[in-house]
Point group: D2
Chain length 342, copies 4
């Protein structure tokens, strides 16, 4: 019998992406879907693209019988998630896609999210969900905190380089280009088609983006001393995909070799031959992350470009990968779908 | 001294388009801009693309001194417009871009807009603003009602054909493709980039779109008997532009000749050679409407395709064209800007 | 052991889409890929989005050992396909995605394609590949001719209506909106991003589009007398998807009921509740076709809207569905992937 | 009588953009248009969006009577331009939009363009066309070499900073995002809508982009010593616009003040208040360049973002601005068109 899955917050893009992926997963069955304001609706009314699936009707969270659930994905907004997860049965495995449990440190959380954390015990318990680097912890965890999509992209480019000590830790720069689905299905003027299509601009520039909290936490932990990176996200007229152009000081060939070695056995992380750089069009809709490295005419400079789909590898695909580990299912199950192109 | 212009509802797309056009108009000066919820802001804060212009700060309507205004464009939402215009000084010339005064008949208004008209006297006074067909009335008018953008497109394709009696009045079909700016700058989920880009769907299909009220009124008036057309609008992943594919029964060559003759002297309406059909990319940002006619392998069928920019010729450009007439300025002044391509 | 599959013409979009779909098919293995000008390259060099797959290197057709192949997909250009297929071993099952074998009649072929057919025996042998209507023939066939993508969309909307006699056969109109991938991966000025994005226009209008040959053939066969439809395709700034707005004269409720009954057991054809119309965004990347019916304020008119993904249900997905039948595999195998949204 | 203008290479995007701009220029008249392969066609056949203009038919260059021409815009491909310009009458004022005369140094030209310059005398004569920094030279020039569009964007962000000595000259990084029209109207697979829309990737990364030749030349000249910047261009799914994110080491407030002071009197260069960054949507179709500066949480870092329209301020608008100077016309004539939004 397949594992019984609940998805809280199923009316957002990451919730729908979880349903899309689980739909072809051989060992999971969606048993409950919640959406507070849309409770009572069929999922097909909220997301007609899922019309072909037999899915439970959307419920309020307190209507769900969690005794019948093996694992719960929580795709709720930041902030409200803490209380919801605290109220769930302790027997439930939980993969959280919000930002609430990404930061291990209470002060860091308060700094980046502007309010104290209300569930410090859960914060202490949660495992950071960057699968390729926390596999054992995730396998044993009850509560896994999915990473930020931008944070995942930057870390795939940088973690092995910081760990290997092959780049200057004081001069790392991430210029990131993100598709609009990362902003969610919220009716905001700035996300309208007429506002966004055909143009680009920065957002949360100047050291203000919250995913910097994750970069700080993880890079400092790896380096064994404080590391701060510079980070400028840009919004692009595309729905899916993140491209991070990461500028480092170090030998480009060494950088490339370090990444190649680090990801040699990884099913989802693919390092291109030296000098080739990846494109977001080649990973859309998939759980793959492509990485490339190039040098510069200025000696001692290297550029790492990493691309992934923010809704898949950056969020719901990562979450499913983690859930597989937590349930003892082979890690790639349900995740080897090819990208869609064109 | 240039004419002093006020724009009510300047925080929407049609308001901003008016500012864009008037910016290079030699005989008009923008003296007042209103935006209820954004009163107090600079226009450049609401529309940074207008940053280079010296413009008055946004005000509430009742803060405007209309004694200093020659002509007022009213780009307010449907419904609220009636009361606003009724409260304006009678000495003011007004070009209304809302739907409130398009329908001459009180019952028709109530039918299509779901509520009785509150200003029947103004409704009786207003002139329908399809410039090429109401030039004399507009020149003499105090209050001109701008047409619907879809309604304008369909009428440019059909009015001469109905007037000349060269098509079957009982079998007219308008399949229309519209860009998203026609829906305005309103934060709705259905207008998000992530929802719209890369796809298409119908809206208000099945005889429900309100611009049918205009088609009914105008076509029946021309024909001297009731005429009802079939009309299916589609939303496309483009910001500007309408393409109306109009299916008629009649001789295609005659249809083409009729349109060619009707628009021979028109500066903004251009009929392509027989057999050529126009593209929206060729009119974006301009006040031009291109029309083409083609026959079919089935005898007695013709297809007329009309394209225009919904924000320019379909709305703000038309409004400026009418304002020119009302102020005694040459009709094309400020409106001969070339389209933008690519 | 899985069935061994060859794909001829793997460097085009339909070839790549076949690879994408077969990648997760449990009973097929890609044994050979051909691409004339790109022979010698890895598939990942031509389509980097397939980088994660272990695939045979691209070959010239005559380098392929067809003795080891069970079924061959032929995704070559129209015209050249005939000779290629004639030279393949008779023992090979073939699904052709070109236009070469769609028309049963030699004269019709010559009329629409401008040259005589060079393989009349194969033309006589080929089965028309619209799966839902030729299941038995396809199951028994050696050579199946995939339909045009526009032709498939229009037929899904119309075949049951013509068969049931519930619409006027002399007044059928298909206004179709198509994404650009249908034009293939050919370097033409008219297909450039700068030319297409943000605009729309017709193509092959006026009864000239070659898919009319398929409509004529199939509709006349069903009706038992000549049927000619009017057909206007439009190119839209989207990569995948076709939306056909089909105008018929008949009772809308009857039209809806007829389609609902006809497709009740079909896994890929889904008729929405009466009055709801589908969107292309809801089928992108999938083998589903959604259909909707609405009436009009004018009695006796109905509009049927059908949407599908031109590369999947309109081409490569259909081809795989047919291949499943020809190989005795359950028809939906490998084809139940959910659409991608957003 | 207006100045008589010729445009060589009128069948490309920059040629068409020149026509668009000159169409509303009060003191210029287009007297000749050349397009080698399209000679004999009307401009409206090549660019239907210019249909409303009375324009000379396209000719071959040697058919043009240059005696009647005051100023010639040369929008021909790189490489072929040299010989063409050498053959033009010496009495003719020329604004070249190609790359052929941008680099002052023969060796630098050979290095970046892979072949020796064939017209060293003209190379020596040509003035670099970055208007705001070479006004006097341009006013007096016979031959002006338009800058690269990326090169212009980066220079607007950096020149005053290098001149004022407020940034570290050895650590300048330009991460640039460019729309596709910059690649021209050439039928290449990589420029297809199906390839580009909805994704992004780098191009000419790693110190290989030819506009680096211009950066090197200009920045070294200003600094009085060699300056090399790092430069990574990205292609975005948008038609017009460049956004350059420029990373410098220096005090952000000083950087902002330096730019503000430098551009205080410039009609087309607009520096936003400190901490605000510009968007490409706000300059599309116009000759404006918006610049913004923000600091970082890491002290001593600043980010300058500059946006402009590659076809206007980055190419044809700049060319017209230079032509105005060369002809003694006020510099902003014909160039104050507002951007188009949305």
């Amino acid at each position: 019998m397949p594992y019984q899955i609940a998805i809280l917050g199923a009316s957002g893009y990451t919730g729908a992406e979880l349903v899309r992926l689980i739909a072809t997963h051989p060992h999971m069955e969606i048993a409950a879907l919640s959406a507070d304001r849309k409770a009572g609706l069929e999922m097909a009314e909220v997301f007609p693209f899922l019309r072909h699936l037999a899915l439970p009707r959307l419920q309020k969270i307190d209507e769900i019988d969690f005794a019948a659930i093996d694992l719960c994905f929580c795709a709720l907004p930041h902030g409200t998630t803490q209380a919801v997860i605290a109220a769930l049965p302790r027997s439930l495995k939980i993969v959280d896609l919000s930002a609430d449990f990404r930061l291990r440190d209470a002060d860091a959380y308060a700094q980046w999210y502007g309010q104290p954390h209300t569930q410090p015990d859960l914060q202490a318990e949660a495992v950071y969900g960057l699968t390729e680097f926390y596999r054992d912890d995730i396998t044993a965890a009850r509560l896994v905190a999915g990473t930020g999509c931008n944070a995942a992209t930057g870390q795939f480019a940088l973690r092995p380089l910081i760990a290997a000590g092959v780049i200057d830790l004081d001069d790392i720069l991430i210029d990131l280009k993100a598709g609009v689905s990362g902003a969610g299905r919220s009716a905001k003027e700035m996300l309208l088609h007429a506002e966004l299509s055909g143009g680009t601009h920065t957002y949360s520039a100047g050291g203000k983006h919250r995913h910097l909290g994750e970069f700080d936490q993880e890079f400092s932990k790896i380096a064994g001393r404080p590391v701060q990176v510079q980070f400028t996200p840009h919004l692009l007229p595309m729905n899916r995909g993140i491209l991070a152009t990461v500028y480092v000081k170090g030998d480009a060939a060494t950088v490339h070799q370090t990444l190649t070695d680090a990801y040699a056995g990884e099913p989802f992380l693919r390092v291109l031959p030296f000098g080739q750089l990846p494109s977001t069009r080649d990973i859309a809709g998939s759980n793959f992350c492509h990485l490339g490295v190039i040098g510069d005419r200025i000696a001692g400079r290297a550029v790492v470009v990493a691309v992934l789909d923010n809704l898949t590898k950056g969020s719901s695909g990562q979450a499913l990968q983690n859930a597989n580990l937590m349930l003892g299912i082979p890690e790639t199950t349900g995740l080897m779908l090819a990208p869609i192109f064109p």
